[in-house]
């Protein structure tokens, strides 16, 4: 094997590695490295190395060499199209995932069926490697892209804006109404809970809560929210929150001027009771906060605030 091919192969693998690491860290230059790695692999390394292998006594396996090129060319191209969100990824991907197993493997097994000499390509290694590939790609079906966290951030922002809008519509003259104080109390309590979560999840904040969605690592942390809200040290925070929401709902429903549709809405959106599901009884706090990431928990809490402000403003709008 030629030295140039050797260097090319090592370069491809390392470009891929650093491209992926940069991508995970959101550092600039990731895309360039990934694209370069895949293009070097598909257009230089793979054809050169296969030609070399063919000329060094691989003539018997002509079909295997051709199939290897086609399969891994398509597969790697599928990867780069998907990672870069290029149009057409959807066409490449199905072939990329299945071709190594429905084309490469049968041809490999067929062409080497009488092969006794294990020196050339190690049979067990290929089988183990392909198993790893198949099993690992199953895991991909379990997940969605992390970009989803930004979308939850959008939700959260819109809920905050809605709460601010409703607060601003309340007239000074209305400020005698007891429901105002109740709403404020509940929202302040939730705000404190949110601050507590933020500070506990990020020790760089130095005791001051600030919401930064670009801090992905913190936003997808699911241990601290679960620990604080549902864990042994939670000091029954959830019971407290639930009883506060319950009593808020009761006082809203007890308002004399409430319209039937508003009381229906309040009963729905402030419903914190347990629910029966296929997996048995699930409590409201499990449904809403259980095992979720920080951003989801913050969004859920903000949603309650936004709901409180909406009901408050609707209630006060009735003359």
């Amino acid at each position: 094997m030629k030295k140039s091919i050797y260097y090319l192969g090592i370069a491809c693998a390392n470009l891929m590695l650093f491209g992926s690491l940069f991508k995970i860290q959101h550092w600039p230059g990731a895309s360039v490295m990934l694209v370069l790695a895949v293009f070097l692999f598909c257009f230089a390394f793979l054809p050169m190395a296969l030609m070399n292998s063919y000329n060094e006594g691989g003539q018997k396996y002509k079909a295997l060499h051709i199939v290897t090129f086609i399969v891994f060319f398509i597969s790697m191209m599928g990867v780069i199209f998907k990672v870069q969100h290029w149009p057409g990824a959807g066409i490449f991907l199905p072939f990329g995932i299945t071709l190594p197993f429905i084309l490469f493997l049968p041809v490999y097994l067929y062409q080497t069926r009488n092969e006794k000499n294990k020196d050339n390509v190690n049979f067990s290694a290929i089988m183990f490697g392909l198993t790893f590939l198949a099993v690992f790609s199953v895991l991909l079906a379990l997940n969605v892209s992390k970009g989803i966290i930004l979308k939850i951030g959008t939700n959260l922002r819109i809920n905050n804006e809605a709460a601010a809008f409703n607060m601003a519509t309340i007239k000074v003259a209305d400020k005698q109404n007891p429901i105002l104080e109740e709403s404020d109390k509940l929202c302040v309590y939730i705000e404190a809970l949110k601050d507590h979560l933020l500070i506990a999840s990020d020790n760089t904040l130095g005791g001051k809560a600030s919401l930064d969605i670009t801090q992905m690592a913190n936003m997808e942390n699911s241990n601290i929210p679960v620990h604080i809200l549902l864990g042994d040290d939670s000091n029954n925070k959830m019971e407290e929150l639930k009883s506060k929401i319950n009593s808020y709902r009761e006082s809203v429903l007890a308002s004399e001027k409430i319209s039937p549709e508003l009381s229906e809405l309040s009963s729905t959106i402030f419903d914190v009771s347990d629910k029966d599901t296929e997996d048995g009884k699930i409590t409201w706090e499990q449904r809403t906060f259980g095992a979720y990431q920080l951003i989801v928990v913050l969004d859920a809490l903000t949603q309650i605030q936004s709901n409180v402000r909406l009901v408050e403003s609707e209630l006060l709008a009735v003359k």
Binding site: T98, S145, I148
Partner: protein
């Protein structure tokens, strides 16, 4: 006649040819001795006769004799090898198809994956290990094969249980990792160190196994959602690809042991490992989509409230003297709001119908009970529907409708500055600065947005439109 030291030389040579079948090595030694004695009777010395014989046969021939013997004498071995090839190919293809079906939400993914995993775990994987052990012979320790067999099956079953949302998935995975991390990898290192020819080779193997351990730990941390998976993954893949791979291949390259075929295989597998790991690291569990289901249902309840409120209000206008006075204006606001809300509703319905491939009735049911939506995570088609080539598309036309609505509402509320500002703020659709470039409202909100979160977003927009409408009407009625 041969003396003991000569026979020992032959025995050790046969052993070095990795002849591990006990009877076969004895018989081969016997056969070689006879052949040498034959030659010696013709007047040759032992060394001459032995080197002549080695030239004629050589190690490769001895090995192929072993394989042929294995093949002929061992029916079980032959059966195993055939089983392995067939089940291997079928099961891996089933897994790949199952993954594909799962990603694209086609029906039948579950059975494909279950059958694939069962075949891999209980037929293919044991057969590979059996064959491997037979070919490697007693040289590979029993613990090595046993630990990877049990560990591998537990891990694969764990992944299957996890994908199918069956209980005890985590228990299986943890058990699997225990076997792989604490039994298999140390034993592998021990076996490799025994084989190593030089101190440098030993260090390379130690490095490789340590890198593998870190890498495995990272995968475990990631799947169990423990903190620290990211740094471990970076460290593990750096050690594996940037340090171990060049050292190992260079070592074999220098010894001229590295064949092009093997090298292609190593590079391809490393590239896949890196990409899959990176993709996993950049992903979060699909459970997170539950957040949007909650948002969507909450928004639906609120929008339902506004609908009812409006119809009650419309019925009451006739009896309310103030409302009668302003009937014209109120009608104007309601109509403007209805235009936008209809646009949002039909867009949402359209998206659900297109992506779920269902009729209007089923789509409406899915909107009010969003947990039942299948392709919650589809965003390709949404992008396609909402954005066309030159950036106009449905998202842009929705933005236009919202802008018109804002303009019309502001005409009514213009005398109240505070309210107008408030309304402009909540209906703001201007482009925002993101890092260095301007990102349009529709790009920021709708690009690469999966179905379920697009629905929740549209529902929230509808709610905001209703809120603005209701506050404007309230203002008019004062």
């Amino acid at each position: 006649m041969l003396d003991t030291s000569q026979i020992q030389l032959i025995e050790s040579d046969v052993e070095s040819a990795r002849i591990t079948l006990y009877n076969l090595s004895d018989e081969l030694v016997d056969h070689i001795c006879c052949a040498i004695e034959d030659q010696m009777r013709n007047g040759k010395s032992f060394d001459e006769a032995y080197s002549l014989l080695k030239e004629q046969t050589g190690i490769k021939v001895l090995q192929s004799i072993q394989e042929n013997t294995l093949y002929l004498t061992d029916k079980k071995y032959r059966l195993m090898k055939t089983t392995m090839k067939i089940t291997g190919n079928v099961s891996l293809a089933l897994l790949a198809l199952g993954t594909l079906f799962k990603i694209f939400h086609w029906p039948g993914a579950g059975p494909l994956l279950v059958v694939g995993f069962v075949l891999v775990c209980f037929f293919f994987f044991p057969a590979v290990i059996y064959i491997n052990r037979r070919e490697e012979g007693s040289k590979s320790p029993m613990l090595l094969n046993l630990s990877i067999l049990i560990g591998g099956i537990l891990l694969m079953m764990g992944i299957l249980f996890k994908v199918m949302h069956w209980p005890i998935a985590n228990l299986l995975l943890q058990g699997g990792w225990f076997f792989v991390l604490f039994l298999f990898l140390p034993t592998l290192l021990y076996a490799k160190l025994k084989d190593a020819k030089s101190g440098f080779e030993k260090r390379v193997y130690v490095l490789g196994v340590v890198a593998l351990i870190i890498f495995e730990l990272a995968t475990m941390f990631k799947m169990m959602h423990w903190p620290g998976a990211g740094p471990l993954m970076i460290l593990g893949s750096l050690l594996l690809v940037a340090v171990f791979l060049p050292l190992y291949t260079n070592m074999r390259f220098k010894n001229a042991e590295l064949k092009a075929g093997q090298f292609i295989y190593l590079i391809t597998i490393s590239m896949y490992a890196v990409v899959l790991t990176a993709l996993l690291a950049m992903n979060v569990s699909k459970d997170i989509l539950g957040c949007f289901v909650r948002e969507q249902d909450n928004g639906t309840a609120i929008n339902h409230y506004f609908e009812q409120k409006e119809s009650h209000f419309a019925a009451a206008v006739g009896t309310d003297s103030v409302a009668m006075m302003n009937a014209e204006k109120i009608k104007f606001v309601s109509e403007e709001a209805a235009k936008v809300k209809n646009e949002i509703q039909s867009l949402r319905l359209n998206l659900v119908q297109e992506i779920e491939q269902v009729d209007k009735q089923a789509a409406l049911a899915a909107i009010s009970e969003s947990i039942k939506i299948n392709k919650k995570d589809n965003y390709d088609q949404i992008d396609h529907m909402l954005f066309d080539q030159d950036g106009n598309g449905l998202a842009n036309s929705l933005k236009g409708k919202l802008d018109v609505y804002l303009e019309q509402i502001l005409k009514v509320t213009s005398s109240n500055k505070e309210l107008s500002e408030n309304i402009s703020k909540i209906l703001d659709t201007s482009s925002k600065k993101n890092y260095d470039s301007m990102v349009s409202w529709e790009e920021a909100n709708f690009k690469h947005n999966p179905l379920i979160s697009t629905m929740a977003l549209l529902t929230a927009l509808e709610r905001n439109v209703s809120m603005v409408e209701s506050s404007a009407i309230q203002y008019i009625n004062q």
